[in-house]
């Protein structure tokens, strides 16, 4: 199996879908001649032409709105928001049009919206956000957030095959840092959680970049720590969460997103409601406090969940 970066795996999924299904096309700001701000679609316009690799006007609402229109007449659009932050400009089309259409009159809206997300690079308040919880709160939208190259390809493939609107969070910090063996050819990764490392003393639940932070933070702890990589936030794999908590009786939940009503808050509520009897300690969370992501490195590092904060929280829980 070839080794690919997380970014190459995403490109590979898109390329294979464009080759396999003429209904698939990609569009977004600067995705054509420039190959995308992060080069995910580098070389695509040469292979597939300007009609299937569409450089759009700077218009996020129209990018998502036109994707909806194309989807309901038989296409399979994959849109790129240049940065996840800009999806706020397309929020209405995604939440009100894409998300509610099937429920209202049974018309499927098969679109994928790719969101390069996350901080750690002095991107500042408008190029660092993790907006996944906005869409978890909006019915009718699936929300995926892979952490490995193999899952990035398989989940993006599954997203394109899915008959629903799918928000696909690809963490910018993982683009070139994470590499792994990736199968060639089309395959789908199920929209379920994955055990990134087995353990029996404590469960750390995370997704996206925080899976890697959790793995690093718990590597040298004198305990058996299970890392559960959610991969999919909607649908949320409640069975995998409850099974792991039943096994370890202690749980730490890590979000890079702002703390209030984050994905981890939903996971915490689920555990409190359904696994209270199995717990041997409080449900703990590590997340970004409720502040905009600051620009200057010492400020940004002060708010993003660090390996140290995760390790300290794990130690507290193990000692409880």
């Amino acid at each position: 199996m070839p080794t690919m970066t997380y970014l190459e795996a995403i490109s590979d999924a898109l390329r294979e879908q464009l080759r396999a299904d003429e209904r698939v096309f990609v569009m977004g700001e600067d995705v054509g001649a420039f190959g995308g701000a992060f080069k995910v679609t580098d070389g695509f316009v040469e292979e597939f032409g300007e009609q299937r690799v569409i450089d759009t006007p700077l218009a996020e609402s129209a990018i998502i709105g036109t994707a909806v229109g194309a989807a309901v007449v038989g296409m399979r659009p994959v849109c790129e928001m240049q940065f996840a932050d800009f999806v706020s400009c397309g929020f209405d089309q995604l939440v009100n049009v894409a998300g509610k259409t099937h429920y209202r009159f049974g018309l499927a809206v098969p679109i994928v919206v790719r969101l390069p997300s996350g901080g750690g690079f002095s991107g500042g308040p408008f190029h660092s956000q993790n907006p996944e919880a906005w869409f978890m709160h909006a019915p009718g939208i699936k929300v995926l957030a892979p952490s490995t190259a193999e899952d990035a390809k398989g989940l993006l493939t599954a997203a394109i095959h899915d008959p629903n609107p799918v928000v696909f969070l690809e963490h910018k910090h993982l683009y070139r840092r994470v590499k792994g063996e990736v199968s060639s050819g089309l395959y789908e990764t199920p929209m379920t959680a994955r055990i990134a490392r087995e353990g029996s003393d404590l469960t750390v639940i995370a997704y996206g970049a925080m899976v890697h932070a959790a793995l690093e933070a718990t590597e040298e702890l004198d305990a058996s720590v299970e890392i559960l990589d959610l991969r999919s936030l909607v649908p949320l794999d409640t069975e995998a969460i409850l099974t792991s908590v039943a096994k370890t009786s202690k749980v730490l939940i890590v979000d890079e997103a702002n703390e209030t009503c984050a994905a981890g808050a939903q996971v915490a509520a689920l555990i409190a409601e359904r696994a209270f009897e199995q717990l041997d300690g409080p449900i703990r969370r590590v997340a970004t406090p409720d502040v905009p992501i600051p620009f200057s490195p010492p400020l940004e590092q002060a708010v993003l969940p660090s390996v140290e904060r995760i390790r300290d929280a794990c130690r507290d829980l193990l000692d409880y």
């Binding site: 429920y103 209202r104 098969p110």
Partner: protein, 413 residues
């Protein structure tokens, strides 16, 4: 090539494509207030550019509409008004939950525009465009059941009033955030162009919606990509209570030119004028000439919704517009052609009464259905084809090609 449309194009070849007028001759009624007089009744900002006033073209209109078409236009408008009048009564009796929105006085806009569309065209109507659903073939009983929140309504009770689209008729239902559907229709047109299909998308928007960003985003996008899309601006003078003068400084039809395509103004209370304007826009779109903005000037004769007493509308304005009622105008034409208008009205009334009885007998939805259907499962099924009653399509085999929205082989590459 479509024979009737070819005639249209030939007849209009000498026109300035950037300043299209598409108003058929007034055939028959001297008492009608001329369209040009409407300007005085329309509170336009002082520095607005002059509105293009249609002059009529006797050589064109009769070629497009047979007597049967003109009767059908009338029948559909009468049906729309009868359904909405009956639904308003049902609302006041407590049979229609929530609120109720109607298009009283605006029937010509949705009926005339939808009548110009082919079966494989796609459309996104708004809340005063019930006529479009009727043209495309949605049965009145399903519409009345929709209003009443019944299980047999188009959305099975999941949404109310005109917030529906029957996918089998090629219609995508609206959302309340206006004009979101302009972006959606633009995307439909983008797919048609990408697949090299001879089809258009059409959507309506109101005067209030011209102030939102999606109006700009859709118009700009459609202009840049020269897409086969028709935008019908349904200018009914008020956005809820807000008059035009508080909505824009320049008549928005003028903006079309800034996006690189024509904007035309038609008498929105003349169903044949609306039909002609949209037909011409469709011809342009199919010829690869891109979008058209058609401003249909009309008047919302009822409140924003059933609760609204319209205190903010000067009574004289309503009285003036009442003289230009679109249904009465079409009735005079049909009567002049020898049609029996009374018989037509009686038949529609009977049809609506049957539909009301059917809807009232329909069950309310099972509460268990409230949590079902949020997500689609299996293969996504695209919009299907709808009815296209205009006689021009009967002549044209190509426009009647069945098959829904499957991609044309190789077209995407």
């Amino acid at each position: 090539m479509q024979p009737t449309l070819a005639r249209t194009r030939a007849a209009r070849a000498d026109r300035d494509a950037r300043c299209v007028t598409a108003h058929p001759p007034d055939r028959g009624d001297e008492s009608e207030v001329p369209f040009s007089a409407m300007e005085a009744l329309t509170p336009r900002p002082a520095d607005a550019l002059p509105v293009p006033v249609a002059t009529g073209d006797p050589a064109v209109a009769p070629a497009h509409l047979t007597t049967a078409d003109r009767v059908e236009l009338l029948r559909t408008m009468v049906l729309m008004r009868a359904i909405e009048a009956r639904a308003l009564a049902l609302y006041r009796q407590g049979r229609v939950p929530g609120s109720f929105y109607d298009g009283f006085g605006q029937e010509a806009v949705s009926v005339g525009a939808a009548f110009a569309l082919g079966p494989r065209d796609r459309l996104c109507p708004l809340h005063r465009d019930l006529g479009a659903h009727l043209v495309r073939g949605v049965a009145p009983a399903r519409i009345l059941a929709q209003y009443m929140g019944r299980a047999t309504g188009v959305t099975g009770g999941r949404d109310g009033n005109v917030h529906f689209g029957d996918p089998a008729t090629g219609v995508m239902g609206m959302v309340s955030m206006l004009p979101d559907m302009m972006c959606v229709a633009t995307g439909m047109a983008m797919a048609f162009k990408l697949r090299s299909e001879a089809r258009v998308a059409l959507t309506w928007c109101g005067d209030g919606a011209t102030s939102r960003g999606d109006f700009h985003e859709a118009m700009n996008w459609a202009g840049v990509q020269r897409l086969p899309v028709v935008f019908v601006l349904e200018n009914n003078q008020f956005a809820y209570s807000t008059p035009l003068a508080k909505q824009f400084a320049v008549d928005p039809v003028q903006r079309a030119r800034a996006y690189g395509f024509p904007g035309v103004t038609v008498d929105g209370n003349d169903v044949e004028a609306v039909f002609e304007a949209v037909l011409e826009a469709r011809v342009r779109a199919l010829a690869g000439e891109g979008p058209t903005l058609v401003e249909a000037v009309t008047m919302r004769m009822h409140g924003h919704a059933a609760h609204d007493d319209m205190r903010y509308v000067p009574p004289a304005l309503l009285a003036e517009w009442a003289q230009r009622d679109p249904i009465e105008r079409q009735e005079r034409r049909v009567a002049a052609l020898g049609g029996d208008v009374d018989e037509l009205r009686a038949a529609v009334e009977a049809e609506v009464e049957n539909a009301v009885a059917e809807a009232l007998a329909a069950p309310m939805p099972d509460p268990a259905a409230a949590t079902r259907g949020v997500f689609a499962e299996g293969e996504a099924e695209p919009l299907g084809d709808g009815s296209a009653p205009w006689s021009g399509f009967a002549e044209d085999g190509d426009a009647l090609t069945p098959g829904g929205d499957r991609p044309a082989t190789g077209a995407a590459a």
